[in-house]
Symmetry: C2
Subunit: 338 residues, 2 copies
């Protein structure tokens, strides 16, 4: 298995000077299923453009507010784009429904909001923020959560809003695969969330931010896995698995085989390694990813930012859509392990 | 002087010898809302008897199988009893429904199963085990999860099975309180899950076990909070928050203000402190509980067992129903901080 620390070399060379003058304020990912060759140049450009818009929107929001605003703004752009498996771009489950999951965490207060199993909220990340700030709770699920969000003025849509031609085709393909499998014929593996057999570029999205005051925040949003069992929830809405933020330590968003990330509490494990073992953000993230049981095709990817503005973006898949933006607006975007 | 040293050495020897000869194999809790005075001797006896049965059932299951079997067997007894806020004894939410949440984790494989927002599964802890072993997933929610459990042969019941007189009275009382609050009159605080304003003895249940081979396992099961917002999920079904187990480190089950336990990833934080900072199980659990934001009336409690069989049972409430059983069957049960 290839194990990649894509951003490490860049960081080691330029971090100290950069971090002082023009630190990274936001890092985003678009899932660890990125494969440049398979997606082709046209789709790659759409995804890169979307990511650039997300980074700019996030940076602007951080400039006017704080890290939490940047995380929400960036993820909203990715959710609305339809180019990633979150929000508009969510995939169908085995019931032909799009069940959305997301979470957000504010490192300053260690408050968090999370939502799972919803089909009518346009921006799950916005719902998470409302739950965090208004409900007195952290985690809400299903139709009751939708009802609460609606009462709170969160933008609702018909489930049809999420019906894209791409998701439809993927469902048909997965359905055909399942029929083949049931008939004992060779079939493709389960798709989605950046795992093996994934479509070339669609994945969970996430963001981690650090503002001028050193406040950290993180968020993650997903549309699940095509043809997945209804009611299945991955790591994206789980604080400590898919998302974690703690001022003075780090902010983390994960993507990949959600079950592994839950079982190994990956996001909080990274923070714990930094807090208790003194690991750097990059070492902590690398160890956490490396500690997952090996799966063919890789387990996923991680983005993280520490309290000094050091960034880690790592993955053990063929590629991960990821990008950073600095305080002054300098953007870096990559897919391959380059 | 020499005499005293010799005596101390003897003590040290005999403690470790004891742990070797007849180690604790199972520790259980019945929520951190225990208050002996408020519950009265009759209810206390019922709860103690139930806990004793749970400990014995758990020990027997460990004897025939492994730690995971003990956790499931013990929690099943507590769920079935109606004396705790889990399974049969679950409380009503604001929709007049009992939404059950639970999780289980096997330290040997770090596999886990969790379920939330279900109303028709008799033993949520058994559903967790089925999800863990058969679904390929970790976490399933709502009616889809129920449907899956039913298909897998998990015992289903009508929602009416959970309708107890006690839960009904509590709902009425909470409802009346909410009406008073809405009218601007003094009202009691929100109840349940071992927090302030809780009924005297009902709480989330949990277990942590260590078998002869050193395999660790943990589980937690809850009926939520009386009059809570529908769709709210606490820490009980969250791996790393309410439940965590990892061979060579520890097994943990938490109870209390679920939101705090999620935000501070308490169960995995205890394991992380043991792994990365070298803390004992007792120190790690104490630090984790002390690290929670202070709330009037306390945040909750924790039970944990480490890879050597050392046990921690701590809480910052008036009391916590808790007990242990050794390999040979020696039982210890307590409520007060004594």
């Amino acid at each position: 298995m290839r194990y990649i620390v894509a951003f490490a070399a860049f960081l080691m060379v330029s971090t100290s000077a950069l971090a002082q003058d023009d630190p990274v304020v936001l890092v985003v990912h678009g899932g660890a299923g990125g494969n440049k060759k398979a997606m082709g140049p046209a789709v790659e450009k759409q995804c890169r453009d979307t990511m650039e818009r997300a980074l700019k929107a996030g940076r602007d929001a951080i400039d006017k507010g704080e890290s939490l605003d940047g995380v929400e703004a960036a993820i909203k752009v990715l959710e609305d784009s339809g180019h990633f498996n979150a929000g508009k771009g969510a995939v169908f489950n085995r019931d032909g429904r799009q069940e959305l999951n997301a979470s957000i965490m504010d490192g300053k207060t260690r408050k968090a909001g999370a939502i799972a199993g919803i089909c009518r909220v346009k921006n799950p990340i916005a719902a998470c923020r409302v739950i965090m700030e208004k409900s007195g709770h952290v985690f809400m699920i299903g139709e009751s959560a939708e009802r609460y969000c609606k009462d709170q003025g969160v933008e609702m849509v018909s489930p049809l809003y999420f019906w894209t031609d791409r998701a439809w085709k993927e469902l048909q393909s997965a359905n055909a695969g399942a029929k083949k499998k049931a008939a004992g014929l060779p079939s493709p593996p389960e798709r989605g969330a950046g795992g093996e057999g994934d479509p070339p570029h669609f994945g969970t999205v996430g963001a981690a931010a650090r503002d001028r005051k050193g406040n950290l925040a993180a968020g993650t949003s997903t549309g699940g896995i095509t043809y997945v069992r209804p009611g299945r929830v991955g790591d994206s809405p789980i604080i400590g698995a898919g998302t974690y933020a703690e001022n003075g330590v780090g902010a983390v968003s994960c993507t990949g085989k959600g079950e592994l990330f839950i079982r190994h509490t990956v996001a909080s494990d990274i923070a714990a390694r930094m807090k208790y073992a003194g690991d750097s953000v990059n070492l902590a993230a690398s160890k956490a990813l490396n500690g997952l049981p090996k799966n063919p095709g890789g387990a996923g990817g991680i983005i993280a930012i520490d309290s000094k503005g050091n960034v880690a973006t790592i993955f053990n898949t063929a590629g991960m859509f990821r990008g950073t933006i600095t305080q002054s607006g300098k953007i870096w975007i990559a897919i391959d392990p380059d």
